[in-house]
């Protein structure tokens, strides 16, 4: 199986879907000859031209709304929002149009659009270019949300997202773009609503997504030397949460540490904690614990950024505390 960069896996998914379905178009800023801010759409403009790759002015809310309107009439737009923080500018059309139209118009319309955006901090981009805003989106009914953590997921989930009849948000990650992984060539899709056990274990479950998944796998490997076998469960889908897989892991290990790059308050980890408490209390051997970004903006200084984001040592400390309970 070929090894691809995560960013190239996204590119391959876009390339294949553009070739497969003439209804697919790309919409976004600087996604043409420039190839997008992170090079994800590189070479696609040369291959498909301005008929398929639509470079927009800097007008996030309107080109997202444009994608909604086009999707209602059967186009399949894939929108790129350059940095996840900029999703704030498109939020009205996501919240009030994309997520609501199918329901509020009584099922008369579908909105088969995809919005891709890289979240996460990467070495000093600062407060407006670094956040993981999954917590902002999971409370919006009508949006499917996935957060691929590997190159293979990046390809398989995006291809499924493009074919889905609903609006799907694909949260990519700037730190993952340069990571390599094995990716099946050609036709390859993954379900949009399934978590995966990234590494099976027995003693405690680490629940994580996006760029925290490889970090959790590394923590697991470090613990193996001490005789502790952690299970790493990659959420993959943030909306809906695959409770079947997540509950099964917790019921197996009896211990949960939830790790995410978003702020601690009111997000995926909080929701998951509530679900565990509601449905799996009898299986818990220790309190549910969360490791997340501090509830502050992401500072520019590398030294400060590190203090705000969850680090491997924070996860290790949480695991030790949980196991000692």
């Amino acid at each position: 199986m070929p090894e691809l960069y995560y960013s190239k896996a996204v590119n391959e998914a876009l390339d294949e879907e553009l070739a497969r379905d003439p209804a697919v178009v790309l919409i976004g800023e600087d996604i043409g000859p420039y190839g997008g801010a992170f090079g994800v759409t590189r070479e696609l403009f040369a291959k498909y031209g301005p008929e398929r790759i639509w470079e927009t002015p800097i007008s996030e809310n309107s080109f997202t709304g444009l994608a909604v309107g086009a999707a209602m009439l059967g186009v399949r737009p894939v929108v790129e929002i350059m940095f996840m923080d900029f999703i704030a500018l498109a939020l009205d059309q996501l919240l009030n149009s994309a997520g609501k139209l199918h329901y509020m118009y009584g099922g008369q319309v579908n909105v088969p659009m995809v919005l891709r955006t890289p979240g996460g901090a990467k070495g000093g981009y600062g407060p407006s270019h670094s956040q993981m805003l999954s917590n902002l989106l999971v409370g919006i009914p009508g949006l499917k949300i996935v957060a691929p953590s590997t190159a293979a997921q990046a390809k398989g989930l995006l291809k499924s997202a493009i074919r889905d009849p609903n609006p799907v948000i694909v949260i990519e990650n700037k730190r993952l773009y340069p990571q390599k992984g094995e990716v099946p060539s050609g036709e390859f899709t993954l379900p949009l609503d399934r978590a995966v056990v990234a590494s099976p274990g027995t003693d405690l479950s680490l629940f994580c997504y996006s760029a925290m998944t490889p970090v959790c796998v590394a923590v697991k490997n470090a613990f193996l030397q001490t005789g502790v076998n952690l299970e790493v469960v990659d959420l993959v889908s943030l909306q809906p949460l695959d409770t079947e897989t997540l509950f099964a892991s917790l019921r197996k290990t009896g211990r949960a540490v939830i790790v995410e790059e978003a702020c601690l308050t009111g997000g995926v980890g909080a929701e998951l904690s509530a679900l565990f408490a509601e449905h799996c209390l009898d299986a818990l051997d220790a309190p549910i614990m969360r490791v997340a970004a501090k509830d502050v903006p992401i500072p520019s200084s590398l030294a400060l950024e590190k203090l705000v984001l969850p680090q491997p040592e924070d996860i290790i400390a949480a695991v030790k505390q949980n196991l000692a309970y």
Binding site: S59, G65, G69, Q93, S97, H102, Y103, Y105, G106, K144
Partner: protein, 314 residues
């Protein structure tokens, strides 16, 4: 040549519909809020008749006129407003979120300016799919201060999209007069910034509206890019059902009422060959249609749990 008698019929239908709604609110039959377009009927009818039935419409919070001008089923519109299962959206959408795909009506929209990019996107799809249909976005003077107005006009012009932007300028965004919200005083001059034609027309004169829209639509259909139409109009009612109208004088309202679009057309009809009996009967039948629709809608059931909690995803 437009069918002036049918235009008249629908203008009366819209007026009667809004007046009936107002009455139903008074009786506590309707929930939520509603934004009536009493006084603005000529804008909806004139523009929509200048378009083809296969041209897509996007409306706004003040959209009943557009719905009925397009010929949606009056009882199904009324039913939607009453939250009944016979409504176009099974009662989920209501007044500000009413869609009828079988009538190429892409929806009213409760976010001021929210429909403008959607109409632009519909135009994108129509061009991309190489049809000769166009999209029409209706919005008010208030919405023309939203970023979506400026962003969408810019994109539509850059990409030469087949979309007609129709601003119904009724002089007030809720309570705020355009003099205090729009630096250029009127909306049409803003078209120049986006390199598209834009002109203001008398929104009380349905023929003037029709002619202006027909000319713009013909150019747009030829692929010459989007246009902005500003229709100078007035709502005789308040912004929504509970509006004491403290921001304008009764004298101003009375002055505007003298220009009532329905009266203006009614006076023209005899010269167009319609006798008084025909005119009277036409108005009567429109009013009866509304009364019948209200009766049908009132008698209809509401949906159940599945209508409330299912159907979020396709």
């Amino acid at each position: 040549m437009p069918d002036f008698l049918d235009m008249y019929r629908r203008m009366v239908l819209i007026r009667a519909f809004e007046e009936t709604l107002s009455d139903l609110f008074g009786k506590g039959v309707l929930g939520g809020t509603s934004h009536f377009c009493i006084g603005q009927e000529a804008c909806a009818v004139g523009v929509i008749d200048a378009a083809r039935p296969t041209d897509w419409l996007v409306s706004n919070h003040r959209g009943h006129g557009h719905l009925l001008a397009r010929g949606l089923d009056t009882a199904k519109v009324m039913g939607e407003l009453m939250g009944k299962i016979i409504g176009y959206c099974r009662g989920r959408g209501g007044s500000q979120h009413l869609c009828a795909m079988d009538k190429c009506f892409l929806g009213t929209n409760g976010i001021t300016g929210g429909g403008i990019p959607i109409a632009t996107g519909a135009a994108f799809a129509l061009k991309y799919q190489k049809t000769d249909s166009i999209a029409i976005a209706f919005f008010g003077d208030g919405a023309s201060n939203q970023g979506t107005f400026h962003e969408s006009l810019n994109i539509a012009s850059l990409w030469k999209l087949p979309v007609l932007f129709v601003c119904e300028n009724n002089l007030y965004g809720m309570s705020n007069p355009t003099a205090k919200s729009c630096a250029s005083g009127t909306i049409a001059p803003r078209a120049a910034a986006y390199a598209m034609p834009g002109a203001a027309h008398d929104g009380f004169d349905v023929q003037a509206v029709y002619d202006a829209a027909a000319q713009a639509i013909a150019r747009i259909r030829q692929g010459r890019g989007p246009e902005l139409l500003e229709l100078m109009t007035y709502r005789f009612c308040g912004h929504s059902k509970n509006d004491p109208r403290v921001y304008r004088t009764r004298e101003e309202e009375e002055e505007m009422r003298q220009r009532d679009c329905i009266a203006v057309l009614e006076q023209k009809l005899p010269a167009l060959g319609y006798d008084q009996e025909t005119i009277t009967q036409t108005a009567l039948s429109a009013r009866q249609e509304v009364a019948q629709a209200a009766e049908t809608a009132l008698a209809a059931p509401t949906g159940g749990l599945a209508d409330a909690t299912q159907g979020v995803f396709a």
